[in-house]
């Protein structure tokens, strides 16, 4: 009897060990820097990419000035003008993984990928999600450096700050961590988009929350990185469209619609910048 159980357990273990291995065999080797670009069909009619900025849906509409200040995305421009595939690394914590979304396809990186593919028609887009829930900037920065060195993304979307604010990480330490990491990425000609803190009424009067938010804004300005004002944009929607339910049941994270707006705002901020650059090359 005991032997039969042992044999059965062995068989089960073999299945469990084999399953992730086979999944690995099928998965794209995202670690390999020299890996072939994703095989998405491309209709390459003319060099360069026809660009119109991402349009905002009625639910997610906010004044453009509430979303982001213009900042250059030079590496992305080069890829688009060469009609080359664009690899984006979306890193951060629960809002990147998608806590509150009904499925992984509804988190912001997945929705953003679909939006960018629609807007940047002829260029294959790959968004790699590296969201780990509950993580502060320092832990993410450690992962980000090695992931960026291995994946060689053209652009990094770093959603950061909420956990540092909630877990009372000091403003100086937070600012230093983010600033050093952004500087390293910029030096390697990787575009950086900093996605700001979550809007939540719970922390609407919390001084530390705002201090972290301001620190992130300073870092973006210091490195001329694109900063998505997630807090302001969502606050605007929640105040002007109070009938819309954007938050998940925990009243802290976003739901599917909330993530759609977050993705729309980021897509808009990115494409508006590219659009401006293409129209005004001197700028």
């Amino acid at each position: 009897m005991a032997r039969t159980i042992k044999v059965k357990m062995l068989a089960l273990l073999a299945v469990f060990i084999a399953a992730p291995l086979s999944a690995f065999a099928q998965a794209p080797q995202d670690g390999a820097a020299a890996a072939a670009p994703p095989s998405v069909s491309v209709t390459n009619e003319t060099p360069g990419v026809p660009l119109t900025p991402q349009q905002l849906s009625a639910q997610c509409a906010v004044p453009t000035s509430e979303i982001a200040a213009p900042a250059p995305l030079p590496a992305t421009i080069v890829r688009l003008e060469g009609n080359q595939p664009l690899r984006i690394l979306a890193i951060g914590s629960s809002s990147t993984w998608g806590v509150g979304a009904t499925s992984r396809r509804k988190n912001y990186p997945s929705q953003l990928e679909a939006m960018l593919e629609r807007v940047l028609k002829t260029v294959p887009i790959e968004v790699v999600n590296r969201g780990v829930s509950g993580e502060t900037a320092e832990a993410t920065a450690d992962r980000l450096r090695i992931e960026a060195a291995l994946l060689r993304p053209d652009l990094v979307l770093w959603q950061v700050g909420t956990n540092d604010a909630v877990q009372r990480v000091s403003v100086e330490s937070f600012e230093r961590t983010v600033s050093e990491t952004v500087a390293q990425l910029r030096k390697k000609n990787i575009d950086v988009v900093l996605v700001g803190l979550q809007y939540t009424p719970k922390y609407a009067r919390d001084e530390h929350y705002f201090a972290i938010r301001d620190a992130l804004k300073r870092v973006a300005a210091e490195h001329n990185a694109l900063y998505v004002r997630r807090y302001q944009a969502m606050e605007h929607i929640s105040k002007t469209k109070s009938n819309l339910q954007m938050m998940a049941d925990d009243d802290f994270h976003l739901n599917d619609l909330g993530y759609q707006c977050m993705a729309e705002h980021i897509a808009h901020a990115m494409t508006a910048n590219l659009f401006v650059r293409r129209r005004k090359p001197a700028s």
């Binding site: 690995f24 080797q29 629960s94 790699v128 925990d250």
Partner: protein, 379 residues
Amino acid sequence: MDQFTNRPKILTATVPAKVKGTRPPNEIDFWRGYALVVIFLNHIPGIWFENYTHKNFGFSDSAELFVLLAGWSLRSMVDRQSRDLTSLGLFFRLGSRAIVLYVAQLVITVIAIAIIASTAFISDTNLVLQWNNAAAIFEDPVTAHIGLVLLSHHLGYFDILPLYIVLMAMTPFMAVLHRALPWALLPVSFAIWAATLGTAVNLPTWPVEGRWFFNPFAWQFILVIGFLLGGDSVITRIAVTWRAIARLLGGLIVALGLLATYLQFYPDPFNVPQPPLFFVADKTFLTPLRLIHVLGLVAFFGGSFAFFYKKARPLARFLSMLGRNSLNVFCVGSLLSLSAQSARFALGSTLWVDVFVVLIGLLLMSATAWVSEWRARLK
């Protein structure tokens, strides 16, 4: 000479057993016990004591030491058993160890989930449910539970046992290869490690998109090194013959590690030659810097058990007792680390709280070891 293997010993000083029915305190158990205590401390982020564990004084931490010593003690077991076992018998004997570890991983993960849930429930703070990569369990239970059973989803700090399970599942092949072609084990293991670093392949995680924190293809190398050092092998013979030089070299590596930490020198992944994993200090891929550092530690501190046994006998006996029961102590220690995170969340993060949680933790870890041996004696 080593009492088990009848071969030259380099790190296996032993003394007579005091507790009836248990192994006498020895160097391997002593350092395994040390690694268990350090892992317990390192897994309580922000605790005061964490600033003084050896990860702060060089490139490697206790995870490397723990896996190296696991290989070492595995060799003792294989050498003791293999005389009476066929290759097939040896294969299944070692494979069954992986199943024990798998069951242990599932049990501690379920308890860890309950600790996180209790903390959120008692403190009425849903944000706690995100701790340690746990969000998927509560937000996406359908896929996360499949992932837990497939070992493709790990809670933060509960990712060493999945590595250990895969390594133990590899050990039957390792032991059989070593029995058939002893000289081939090290080159094969090295080639797998080097290819892993060159290509950056790793097992994927699911449903959280990412990769294993401890890459088994890289970490098998240190298990094999431990396995070879634990008995007669080319590297053991070199280490024994050139013992003084090995210690000197180890001392130099430890000193360089100290200097690098003092100067805050860490290679920037963006500014190293290709392929980058050969030049950075990365834990996931057990990169050369970390590997060389832990080997330096072993070469330098190996044999110092005799000193501790002479000068600090209660400490030597205490750590050896923990090391003798490493799986049970590791499992309880992991849960204690998580409980300590909860305690610090509830009580605040003052030095008194830190002292309190560490004392309780050490007490319960030693109780676990004592009860394990007491149960073994009853049998």
